[in-house]
């Protein structure tokens, strides 16, 4: 029995022929290298390994239970849609958060501008919203509003700022 001392650069020159015979499955080609395989350790190992892998491949492919292509296509489309909706929700949440923060500043500013003679509350609100209130007052866009109307106005403004993004999200979600 021929023992072949091999280094990585000294492989049997008939390995390619053996691999092609295995790939083709041709009994003629395989018988052509059979005698050589008996005498070459490397080719014998290659035959055992590559032959086993090829046979295993054929069995695995036959055993595979894979979803139909139509089902997979549908699942991919649905997942893309779900991913897009999730991304949209994240954007809406970010907008809502920003709107609430901005709204809070505006509300305090309005309260500061319209607090009028509310005594202790006036000084507190003016402290928080003083600057913004001055800007709004200077712009003269607000009519003279009595303190009695200030709180309802503030409440409506806060409710609108808080609920508008939520309403938009609900509408978009239904679509």
């Amino acid at each position: 029995m021929k023992k072949t001392m091999t280094r990585e650069d000294e492989r049997c020159e008939r390995e390619v022929e053996l691999l092609e015979a295995l790939a083709s499955g041709s009994s003629t080609k395989l018988s052509g290298v059979a005698l050589h395989v008996e005498s070459c350790e490397d080719c014998r190992d290659l035959l055992a390994l590559a032959g086993a892998i090829i046979s295993d491949r054929d069995l695995l492919r036959a055993e595979a239970v894979i979803p139909p292509s139509g089902m997979l296509w549908w699942r991919i489309q649905r997942r893309e849609r779900d991913d897009a909706l999730a991304a949209g929700r994240r954007v809406m949440t970010a907008i809502q958060g920003f709107t609430l923060a901005a709204g809070s500043v505006i509300v305090f500013g309005l309260a500061g501008a319209m607090a009028g003679g509310m005594g202790k509350a006036e000084s507190t609100l003016r402290r928080f919203g003083g600057k913004v209130g001055e800007i709004i007052s200077d712009a003269a866009v607000l009519p003279e509003i009595s303190p009695a109307f200030a709180l309802p106005v503030i409440a409506i403004a806060v409710a609108w700022i808080a609920l508008a993004p939520v309403a938009a999200w609900v509408v978009l979600r239904k679509e």
Binding site: R11, A23, L72
Partner: protein, 191 residues
């Protein structure tokens, strides 16, 4: 010398959705093209995933994830072989990442699976050759399993193996040789 075997007919199956890709235009596949490509390649990909991870159920999960990512990635391909190689790249990354996270440890032995029918293909050597092969493969690293499978089961070239496994093309020859020698020794030890 490229010590891999000739592969399948990798240029089969062209349709309208593929002509644009043949010209290198970046397009997402339409439904018809995608489904045809899936029908041609799914069993091969599943077999690859099952052998690399050693877990059939995991292969089921990774199969769908592979095609989802492939579809989302889009891209232009010069040929069917190029597209197929890209698919195996994605499958390989998923399989290796999963195995590293430890999900592939509890694999189902193929020889113990009662659903496996009697072998319709004669395997080499003893009647338990499949168990021997599985045990040998499980003792290799994921990269070695990939290289052996791609070289001998899929008939991939060294360049294709390199792109899938993530090594230099010049290194594939040496790495494949080492993997082959190790696997062969393990198989001999099983006899």
């Amino acid at each position: 010398m490229n010590m891999t075997i000739a592969g399948n007919n990798l240029l089969a199956g062209t349709g309208p959705g593929e002509k644009e890709e043949a010209r290198g235009v970046s397009l997402r596949m339409d439904e018809e093209t995608f489904r045809a490509f899936y029908d041609r390649t799914a069993r091969s990909v599943w077999a690859y995933l099952a052998r690399v991870t050693g877990d059939r159920q995991l292969a089921d999960d990774l199969l769908q994830e592979t095609y989802y990512r492939f579809f989302r990635a889009g891209g232009s391909f010069e040929s069917e072989a190029h597209r197929r190689n890209s698919l195996f790249c994605i499958a390989s990354n998923l399989a290796v990442d999963t195995v590293r996270r430890g999900r592939g440890k509890h694999h189902v032995s193929l020889s113990d699976d009662p659903e496996i029918p009697a072998a319709r293909v004669e395997g080499p050597g003893s009647s338990e050759w499949r168990s021997d092969l599985q045990r040998a493969m499980q003792q290799l690293s994921p990269a070695q399993r990939e290289m052996l499978w791609l070289a001998y089961a899929e008939g991939s070239s060294h360049a294709e193996i390199a792109s899938v496994v993530g090594v230099k093309t010049a290194s594939v020859k040496q790495l494949l040789f080492r993997a082959r020698k190790k696997a062969a020794a393990l198989l001999r030890g099983s006899e």
